[in-house]
């Protein structure tokens, strides 16, 4: 089985893909993914996908904001104190704008880079790219791929299961 990545079923509408995803999840498949030319609402949940991106972004923002205030305080109150118009050395209101900006910057950088890192991108090649029809996943077709790594995967039984979902076609994806 090592030379096959999985079985790919092709559908023409997001509703058909959604239905297939629910059926496959109910049948006990877990190592699978849906492919659609736009984000289909509730599809990731139907496939049992979870993510922890918001937590990472929150941590990024807190580190950014805390780091910014620390930097301003250290620079203007400890390392090189300057008296500006008799204001307190640690004049926190004037330190807020940069604290805010760097909170946003660090949270934004985390959101961007963590979303790609968790997605395993950039990844120039993937077994699915060897299927010519898969080019349409970015255009007008909807796919469900059940991977051979799934413990419930069986070459004939899984194909028969996908066939019952009434796809346009079923393709075997080589590794």
């Amino acid at each position: 089985m090592s030379e096959t990545y999985g079985l790919l079923a092709e559908f023409s509408t997001p509703e058909a893909l959604m239905h297939a995803a629910e059926e496959a999840y109910a049948a006990g498949f877990r190592r699978m993914d849906g492919y659609a030319p736009f984000p289909v609402e509730r599809l990731p949940e139907a496939l049992g996908k979870k993510n922890r991106l918001p937590l990472l972004v929150l941590i990024g923002g807190i580190l950014g904001g805390g780091g910014a205030y620390f930097m301003e305080w250290y620079a203007n109150a400890i390392s090189y104190p300057i008296n500006i118009g008799g204001r307190p050395i640690n004049s926190w209101p004037s330190f807020i704008p940069i604290t805010f900006e760097l909170t946003v910057l660090c949270a934004g950088l985390t959101a961007f880079f963590a979303s790609f890192a968790l997605n395993g991108l950039p990844r120039p090649h993937h077994p699915l790219f060897s299927i010519p029809e898969f080019d349409r996943a970015s255009q007008d077709r909807f796919f469900l791929c059940i991977e051979t790594k799934d413990p419930k995967f069986h070459p004939e039984a899984t194909r028969a299961f996908l066939q019952r979902l009434n796809p346009i076609s079923i393709m075997e994806v080589p590794e």
Partner: protein, 468 residues
């Protein structure tokens, strides 16, 4: 198997105008996934049309003029400009504030309208995000050119240097560095994040090998997986949520450059909200000045429908009224303060040597935009384009009025002086327009200029596209 799917997926369309006569369609009837893909994704893959070349060459020549102006500036330093003491902030700062303001519409459309679930951002968000990026590039250059010694601009950043000093973090000018720098980075990430799935579409449609390789490189191997879409959507939403307070903060910080100073005409609490409204006002005007010709040249009327133009015109009308209110409050507060310098500043602004500039501002920013009350004008692309040009000019003049008329006669009359721009000032202004337009033309040529995946969503859910 690979034949394009031609069957129309959309059928039940509501009528194209509302009872009040406003256009309601965000998408012309009969669009399919394939027609949307073909219209948008094939533009970067095919040869550029004639008007693109004409526009690009003009923009490029202006950019070359900018190069000449900047080279001569580096050679001779800021003395070639018309600035003097007391008017030490001349065109460079006027241009800076103008360009940062223009940038704001992009973030408003892409982030704030996303959070408010407004579907009418779909066809214009990519354009205006690109506009934001390029406008911030132009804006960021201006203070650097004004530095006198632009090669030591990095002194603005906090780093442990051998001089053992740090930036003075209580200064709005240092806040500006962080605000504009963050704004550029976040706009770039937001734009690219939205772009990746569309680059994958272009990659999958490309026939020539070099095109396939180029788009594959920038698409980062995107394969439309549901798990990827989920993280992508969350990251996009979070970036929108972060960009929303950011966009309000950036122009507020820019306005602090003025309002924290004690110059009459600058030292005012109305500045932050009035600057932000003005920023969105000019940004929408610039978006219309770009969207209207591009829509015509590339025949995109079925994707960028009249409803977009109508809504953008409405936003301009609202923000324009806020700006007009700002002008009124400035005059009122000057009178109400009882402060001799504030009162004189206002009289001098309206009736002094620069009075004609002030009244041109009133014409461009207050009088002409009243035409937008008429639905007929909001739906007429040519008239809307002309109104938007007036607003763009008006917003530049507004910054000229704020910067120059406040500085040229502040406190002791012995210090008063006039500011006259030199040809180098004008070349820097129009040259920066050349930089902006060159980048914009390259963007239109090589990048899908409308979000394809979001437009496909509108095709899949026609009821979302056609309700008010």
């Amino acid at each position: 198997m690979n034949a394009p799917d031609q069957s129309p997926l959309t059928s039940n369309f509501s009528p194209s105008t509302s009872p009040l006569g406003y256009p309601t369609n965000l998408l012309a009837p009969g669009q399919t996934y394939e027609s949307v893909n073909k219209t948008i994704a094939d533009i970067p893959l095919k040869r550029a049309p004639g008007p693109w070349w004409v526009g690009f060459i003009i923009a490029f020549l202006l950019l070359m003029m900018f190069l000449v102006a900047v080279t001569w500036l580096f050679f001779k330093v800021v003395g070639i400009w018309g600035i003097n003491i007391p008017v030490a902030w001349g065109f460079a700062i006027v241009n800076f504030v103008w360009w940062v303001g223009i940038a704001h519409a992009g973030t408003f459309i892409s982030a704030i309208l996303l959070l408010l679930f407004q579907p009418w951002r779909t066809a214009i968000n990519r354009f205006t995000e690109a506009m934001t990026l390029f406008a911030v590039c132009c804006a960021g250059l201006m203070p650097l050119l004004h530095l006198g010694r632009p090669w030591v601009f990095y002194w603005l950043f906090p780093y442990p240097d051998t001089m053992r000093v740090w930036p003075q973090f209580r200064s709005p000018l240092v806040w500006d560095v962080f605000a504009v720098g963050t704004y550029f980075m976040i706009s770039l990430l937001f734009w690219y994040l939205g772009l990746v799935p569309d680059l994958a579409t272009v990659r999958d449609r490309a026939k020539k090998l070099w095109q396939k390789k180029m788009y594959a490189f920038f698409a980062l191997g995107w394969r439309n997986s549901a798990a990827h879409w989920q993280r992508h959507q969350i990251a996009y939403l979070l970036l929108a949520g972060l960009a929303t307070p950011l966009v309000l903060s950036v122009h507020s910080v820019v306005s602090f450059d003025f309002s924290v100073a004690i110059v009459p005409g600058w030292h005012s609490t109305i500045f932050p909200p009035y600057f932000v409204a003005g920023a969105i006002y000019s940004g929408f005007a610039m978006s219309l000045n770009i969207v209207i010709p591009v829509r015509k040249i590339y025949h995109l009327e079925h994707l960028i429908t009249d409803r977009y133009l109508n809504n953008m015109a409405n936003i301009m009308l609202v923000t324009g009224m806020i700006v007009a209110y700002g002008y009124f409050i400035e005059a009122l507060m000057a009178w109400y303060s009882g402060d001799i310098f504030e009162i004189y500043m206002m009289i001098n602004r309206a009736f002094g040597p620069y009075g004609w500039v002030f009244w041109t501002l009133m014409l461009c920013n207050v009088l002409v935009p009243q035409a937008l009350w008429s639905a007929r004008i909001r739906r007429n692309p040519v008239l809307l384009f002309i109104v938007a040009l007036f607003i763009n000019a008006g917003m530049w003049i507004e910054r000229f009025v704020i910067v120059i008329t406040s500085l040229h006669r502040d406190y002791p009359p012995a210090m008063w002086a006039m500011f006259y721009p030199t040809k180098w000032d004008w070349m820097t202004l129009f040259g920066s327009v050349g930089l902006f337009l060159t980048l914009q033309f390259l963007f239109i040529r090589f990048v899908p200029m409308i979000s394809i995946s979001e437009t496909r969503e509108l095709v899949a859910e026609p009821e979302k596209a056609n309700t008010l």
